[in-house]
Structure formats: structure tokens, C-alpha cells
């Protein structure tokens, strides 16, 4: 009895020592840094605090999705940067997914040429640093575009020039009604799908959900156009002469070359990784599954849709979300070509102006950290939901 107790205590003590040392070491490093920071800030006459976020920023941002000019606050500038980061990430994720899926499937094509081309695409774009690809598109490829006066025209409604891509602007009337109708259509589709699933599981009835869903999605918003006063007109960009030699486009929306270069490089680079995930996912579904599906009489499309894809997606989705996360973090390379994302606007310009290194870097890092952690929490939940439920 005594011996047993002694042993347990001994183990506890043995476990305690390394933990205590680690915690103490960490604490002392933190305290050392904190005191130094305090002394340094005291010497420079600045005090720690986030009050500066309300001060006037007095710098301009070249591209903003919300109203912003120099008279707004640093907090607002942070928001502009954050929205720009989200914008370029969303565009990048959209195109990277499409390209990644196409390339991934092409790599498994039974056409030798297509498979080889896809393989080389992956090998080339994956092995060149992303920053070089961004530089290439921005400094080399997009700089070769023509000046506004002889921009590349797409049916005279959209123009590609060295100063950016000018596209028509959407002018909505009663946009809210339209938006509500789209939401309503999605809710309707959800109910149709759950009804169809029930019918299929209970009575074995197949309902063509894809066609019904598509018609709903088109019909309901169409009704708002016809009866509820929603309308859409376009404002086209028009060439305007500023001075004898300087031209520009008025009207429309201008997509700045920084955004184009960044979105292009991000999606082409990330697509290679997504393609590998897609390939691994499809290869990961056992051959027996396909053969079993074929032997019970499913056709090629049904095998892909009902048997292969649901299982492949389970393998594909986790690493692909990781890639989405990487893409979002990589969008911070925007700072290299002066696309006004959160790093350039906030950790760059705002930091230079205020000198508040600790606050600003912490906010920037925390923003990314929040983004990453929320996505990984969501992914863990999703994985649990999708995991094979063993009976």
C-alpha cells in the first residue's frame, strides 16, 4: 500500500517537473519581452492602446468596395483591406476550384495527350514560387496589354487595357426584391430535394431533381422581372479623352490589373494542388465499388454521380479546404504588387503612419488566425458529419 502510493506520487512528481520548467520558461520569455516593449514604448512616448483606430487615416486606397477616402478612420481602412482580401480570395477560390477539378479529372483521362498536358500543367505551376507567378503576370504579362485608346474590345461592351479591365456596371432597380426571390428559390429547392430524397428512400421513386431545381431557380427570379418591377440595365464603359495623348474609360466598373494578376496567379497555383486532391480522391475509390455499381445495372453517369463522387468527395474535401485556407493566406502576397489588401493597407501604410507596430501586427495576425481557426472548426464539424457512419 505504502509502496503503491509512493510510486504514484513519484510519477506525478516526475511529470510535474518538465511541465513546470516549460511553463516557467515560456512565462519568463513573455515577461521579458513585455517589459522590454513597455520600456521601448515609454522611450518613444507611445502608449499601448487601440484608440488610434478612430483617428483619421488621411491616406487614399486605390481600390475599395465600400465608400472610403482619406477622411475616414483607420478602422475603416482596416475594413477596406479586409474586404479586398476576402474579394480576391473568393475569386481565387472560385476559379481554382473549377480549374483544379478540370485538371484533376483530365489527369485521369483515358486520352493520353490530355492526361500528359494536365500532368505538365501541375508539374510546372506547382514548382514555381507563387510570388514569381504574381510578378510575372503583373510586371510582364499584363504590362504587355495595349493602352486605353486601342484596348482589346469584347463586342464594345468590355475593354481590356494596361490600366485594367473595364466591364459594364450593373444598375438594378428593386434589387432587394430580386435578392429575396433568389433566396426563396433556394429554400424551395431545399424542400424539393428533401421531398425527393424521402420519396426515393421510402418508395424507390426517382424524381428528376436537377431539372426541377434549375427551373425553380430561373422561374422565381424571372417572375420578379416580369411582375414586381425589378429591372437591370448596364452602364457601358466609354472611351474618354482627358488630354491630347491621355485616354481613359468613363462609366462601367474598372477591375484593376493588380486584382487580375493576383487572382490569376492564386487560382492557377492553387488549382495544381486541388487537381492533385481530386485525382487522389477519385483514385481512392476502390475499383470494386465501380464494378459493383455496374453489376447492379447503373449506367456510367449514375455510377459517377451516385457511387464514385460521394465517396471521392469525402477524401477530396478536407485537403481542399486546407488549400482554400492556404489561398486566403497567400493572398497576403498582394502587398508585393500593391494590391490594397489587409497587409498592404493596414500592416503597411497604417503602420508606417502610426508607428504602432505591436497593435497593428497583432490585429492583422489575429484576423488571419480567426479566419483559419473558424474554417478549421467548420471543417472538423463537416468531416464528422460526412464520415462513414458504421452501424
Amino acid at each position: 500500500m505504502i509502496l503503491k502510493k509512493f510510486n504514484i506520487e513519484n510519477k506525478k512528481a516526475r511529470d510535474l517537473i518538465p511541465q513546470a520548467i516549460t511553463v516557467l520558461a515560456l512565462l519568463s520569455v513573455i515577461i521579458y519581452f513585455a517589459t522590454n516593449a513597455q520600456i521601448n514604448m515609454g522611450n518613444r512616448g507611445i502608449s499601448f492602446g487601440f484608440g488610434f483606430l478612430n483617428q483619421e487615416a488621411s491616406f487614399d486606397i486605390t481600390f475599395s468596395m465600400i465608400e472610403y477616402d482619406g477622411s475616414h478612420s483607420y478602422g475603416r481602412a482596416f475594413l477596406v483591406g479586409l474586404l479586398n482580401t476576402i474579394l480576391v480570395s473568393a475569386i481565387g477560390i472560385f476559379f481554382a476550384t473549377i480549374m483544379g477539378v478540370i485538371v484533376g479529372i483530365s489527369r485521369l483521362s483515358d486520352n493520353y495527350l490530355i492526361a500528359k498536358v494536365a500532368e505538365w500543367y501541375v508539374e510546372i505551376f506547382r514548382n514555381i514560387p507563387l510570388i514569381l507567378q504574381i510578378f510575372f503576370w503583373y510586371f510582364a504579362a499584363l504590362r504587355a496589354l495595349p493602352l486605353p485608346e486601342n484596348g482589346i474590345s469584347f463586342y464594345d461592351i468590355s475593354f481590356l487595357t494596361i490600366k485594367g479591365w473595364y466591364v459594364p456596371k450593373f444598375i438594378w432597380t428593386n434589387f432587394n426584391i430580386f435578392l429575396l426571390s433568389v433566396i426563396a428559390a433556394f429554400i424551395a429547392i431545399y424542400f424539393i430535394n428533401s421531398y425527393a430524397t424521402k420519396q426515393r428512400e421510402q418508395f424507390g421513386k426517382q424524381i428528376p431533381t436537377t431539372i426541377i431545381s434549375l427551373t425553380t431557380l430561373i422561374l422565381i427570379p424571372l417572375i420578379t422581372f416580369l411582375f414586381l418591377g425589378v429591372s437591370l440595365t448596364f452602364e457601358y464603359p466609354v472611351l474618354k479623352q482627358l488630354s491630347p495623348t491621355v485616354f481613359t474609360y468613363a462609366g462601367g466598373v474598372s477591375i484593376i490589373p493588380e486584382l487580375i494578376a493576383l487572382a490569376l496567379a492564386l487560382s492557377m497555383y492553387t488549382a495544381t494542388f486541388i487537381a492533385e486532391n481530386v485525382r487522389a480522391g477519385i483514385l481512392g475509390v476502390g475499383k470494386g465499388q465501380k464494378e459493383a455499381a455496374a453489376s447492379i445495372g447503373l449506367n456510367k453517369n449514375q455510377i459517377l454521380k451516385l457511387v464514385v463522387m460521394p465517396q471521392a468527395l469525402r477524401i477530396i474535401i478536407p485537403p481542399t479546404t486546407n488549400q482554400y485556407l492556404n489561398l486566403t493566406k497567400n493572398s497576403s502576397l498582394a502587398a508585393a504588387i500593391a494590391y490594397p489588401d489587409i497587409v498592404l493597407v493596414f500592416a503597411g501604410t497604417a503602420l508606417m503612419q502610426t508607428g504602432r507596430a505591436i497593435e497593428i501586427i497583432s490585429i492583422t495576425m489575429l484576423t488571419y488566425l480567426t479566419l483559419s481557426i473558424s474554417i478549421s472548426i467548420f471543417m472538423n464539424w463537416y468531416n464528422k458529419k460526412m464520415a462513414i457512419k458504421e452501424k
Binding site: I114, F135, F136, R143, I361
Partner: protein, 417 residues
């Protein structure tokens, strides 16, 4: 008589020659069009002559699509690029695009490119101006390192490569000493040689380092340090001691959750605030610490994957032999776990090499940074394409070689279980 009979073994003698003729005609048309700028079918209406190669090729491929023809080359061809109409179309498009894109590429890279000369004015052709690379080559390799001292960088890398080279041919016992030398002695010897300041060598401050050699130096040191830190973090994350476990988790997730560029910003502007007033840590060392810690977190997750994949029996067997924690990990667990995750380790190291250009945010210039500097030189404006294509090629060769080597290593070390 059935003229449009389905291609089969019966009409192989007529269909295959006609089909092959049509396919070659369509390729020939595109080829001549692309290389000699001459439209073979120019006598036809423009719309038709534009699509004619596609139509001819498509019909040709249809005619030669004969199942089980018994002619081996034909069967192989059909199986690989011509299994159905859709595949035939894809094949045609791919080949057309390849043929179309060769001449402009060839022109730009070689035929119209300029190789001789010393200034931008010598670049008279329409193609690339490789003179730019030639003139700036020294800077791209060594940065702003003084010309007279560059032999020191060369010597350091020469020693490295020769030691690595020799170590492939010596016996296992000697190899151990070579590796020990490379890991524990050489890095510091090399850095002393490059930075100088003693043994009669002139001191070269780290701000002058740059170019490709800086890429190598940073990659080598970061790899050297991030690996052991990563392993320790991975072990820490799987530790049964809560304090160590949660500190490791926090550390790993912190670094993995933020982009490298913000970490570098931190090392540049925030870190000096944390040091006593007046202390100054060299920019290069701060960057190295930042990159090392950042990549170590990724390395830790890779190693953890390997640790988790090992069957529990390995741990139990090691413990039943009376091994302690460190001996068990060093002799039984890690050798197997690391072998399992070689692809992951290689990917992390590749990512590290690809991340090195980011050091531009603190003002250090490796290859990409030097090209940025060179292309803004007033005498060499408009050379961005040449510069970035060159840098892309260099990085591609390095990264591709690394990924190939790791694949080989994986095959060599894989043991059946």
C-alpha cells in the same frame, strides 16, 4: 454498295489510308499555317478554311476508329487518343494548340532573341533580350556581394557540394562523420567564410548578400533548424503532459494560422520592440528565425501524421524492452514515423524554398528581389518578362529536382509491411 458503312475490320484497307490521309492533312494545314504563315486551304471561303482542319481531322479520326483491328499500332493509337468522338475532338484541339504555340515560343526564346551585346541597345530583335540576364548574371547569383570577394561564396558551396558528392561513395561508417560535419560544423564554417570579419577576411555585412546564393543560404539554414524543432513540437503535441501538449498545440496553430508575410513583418517591425533598447539583431538572423519557426510548425504537423500512423504495438514493444521515452522515440518510433512521411517532409521543404523570395518585405533581395531591382534600373527598363522567366526557370529546376529526389527516396526507403 454502302459508302458510309461503320468503320470495321472489313473495310480497314480503304478506311485507314483515307483516315490517316485526312488527319495528316489537317495537321499539315495547321503546321504550315503556324510556321510559315501560309494558308494551305486559302482558296476556300474564310469560315470554312478556318474550321477545315478540325472537320478533316475529326472525319479522319472517325474513319480509323476500328475496334480490334488486329493491327497493333492502330489499336494502341485508338485506345490512347481516339476512343470516342469526344476524345478525338480533345486530341485534335490539344495538338492544334501545341502546334500553334510552338512558333511564337520558339521565336521569343531562341530565333528572334538576342544573345550578344552589353546593353539594352544591342537588343534589336523582337524576341527575348537574354543580354539582360547575361549582364546582370553576377548580381542575380551573388546580390550586392563585392566582386572581389565572391570566391568565398563559391568556395563555401564548392565544399558543400564536394562533401555531399564524396559522401555518396564512402563507406557507411565514414558517411556518419560526413553527415555530422555537414550538420554541425559546416554551416557555421560556411557562414563565417561568407560573412568574414576574421582570419584576414574582409567583413561583408548581410545587407549586401543576395541573389540565388542567399536563397540557398536561407533555405539551408531554415531546413537545418526547422527539422529538429518540428520533431520536438510534434512529440510535444502527442505528449501525455497537459502543459507541454497545450503549449505545443498553441504554438503550432499560431504559426499555421497566419501568412508568412505577416510573420516577416513581425520580425522586421515588431520584434525589435521586444528587445532591450540598443540591442540589434541582424536582419538576416531575424528573418531566419521567423522562417524557421514558421516552417517548423508545418513540419510538426507532418511528423505528427507519421507518429499517429504507427501501430500502437511499436510503442508497447519498445516499452516492454524497458526503453525510456527518449530512447523509445529515438530508436524505434521516429525512424519509422519519419520514413512514413517523407513525401510530406519533402513538400514542406519545397514550400520553404518557394517561400524564400518573400524576404523582400524586410528588404533582403534574393533572386526574385534582384530581378525586381534590375528591371527598375533606368538603363534596363522593360525587361521584366526575361527576368521573371529566368527566375521561374531556375526555381522550377530546383523544386522539380527536389520533388523528384524525394520520390526516389520514398521508393528506396519503403519497406513492405
Amino acid at each position: 454498295m454502302n459508302l458510309i458503312a461503320k468503320p470495321s475490320k472489313d473495310n480497314i484497307k480503304t478506311y485507314v489510308p483515307i483516315g490517316l490521309f485526312l488527319v495528316s492533312l489537317s495537321f499539315l494545314d495547321v503546321f504550315i499555317n503556324a510556321f510559315f504563315n501560309f494558308n494551305l486551304m486559302g482558296f476556300l471561303p474564310s469560315q470554312l478554311s478556318y474550321f477545315l482542319p478540325l472537320i478533316l481531322g475529326f472525319i479522319g479520326f472517325y474513319l480509323i476508329r476500328i475496334e480490334f483491328s488486329g493491327v497493333r499500332p492502330l489499336d494502341v493509337l485508338n485506345k490512347n487518343i481516339n476512343s470516342n468522338n469526344f476524345n478525338a475532338l480533345l486530341t485534335l484541339f490539344t495538338i492544334f494548340i501545341i502546334i500553334k504555340s510552338i512558333p511564337p515560343m520558339l521565336d521569343w526564346f531562341i530565333l528572334e532573341a538576342n544573345f550578344v551585346g552589353n546593353s539594352k541597345d544591342d537588343c534589336t530583335g523582337d524576341g527575348a533580350c537574354w543580354v539582360f540576364i547575361k549582364v546582370w548574371f553576377n548580381r542575380f547569383m551573388y546580390g550586392l556581394y563585392p566582386d572581389a570577394e565572391q570566391w568565398r561564396i563559391n568556395t563555401a558551396f564548392l565544399i558543400l557540394f564536394s562533401v555531399v558528392g564524396v559522401s555518396f561513395f564512402v563507406s557507411e561508417k565514414l558517411k556518419k562523420y560526413f553527415i555530422l560535419f555537414l550538420v554541425f560544423v559546416f554551416p557555421f564554417l560556411g557562414i563565417k567564410l561568407i560573412s568574414g570579419g576574421s582570419f584576414g577576411l574582409e567583413y561583408v555585412e548581410s545587407a549586401a548578400w543576395g541573389g540565388l546564393s542567399l536563397t540557398f543560404i536561407i533555405s539551408a539554414f531554415a531546413i537545418l533548424f526547422c527539422f529538429p524543432i518540428g520533431v520536438i513540437l510534434a512529440l510535444g503535441r502527442r505528449s501525455s503532459l497537459p502543459a507541454i501538449k497545450y503549449i505545443s498545440i498553441g504554438f503550432i496553430e499560431l504559426w499555421r494560422g497566419v501568412p508568412l508575410i505577416t510573420v516577416l513583418f513581425m520580425s522586421a517591425v515588431m520584434f525589435p520592440m521586444f528587445l532591450p533598447d540598443g540591442t540589434f539583431i541582424d536582419k538576416l538572423i531575424r528573418v531566419l528565425i521567423a522562417i524557421t519557426l514558421f516552417e517548423a510548425a508545418y513540419m510538426a504537423e507532418v511528423v505528427r501524421g507519421g507518429l499517429q500512423a504507427l501501430p500502437k504495438g511499436q510503442y508497447e514493444a519498445a516499452k516492454s524492452l524497458g526503453m525510456g521515452y527518449w530512447r523509445m522515440n529515438a530508436l524505434i518510433i521516429l525512424p519509422q514515423a519519419l520514413k512514413l512521411v517523407i513525401p510530406g517532409i519533402a513538400n514542406t521543404l519545397l514550400a520553404l524554398v518557394k517561400d524564400t523570395p518573400l524576404i523582400f518585405v524586410v528588404g533582403l533581395m534574393e533572386l526574385a528581389g534582384m530581378i525586381g531591382l534590375a528591371k527598375t534600373n533606368p538603363k534596363w527598363l522593360g525587361m521584366a518578362m526575361e527576368g521573371y522567366v529566368f527566375a521561374g526557370l531556375v526555381f522550377w529546376v530546383i523544386c522539380y529536382a527536389m520533388s523528384r529526389y524525394s520520390q526516389n527516396l520514398e521508393k528506396k526507403l519503403s519497406t513492405e509491411r
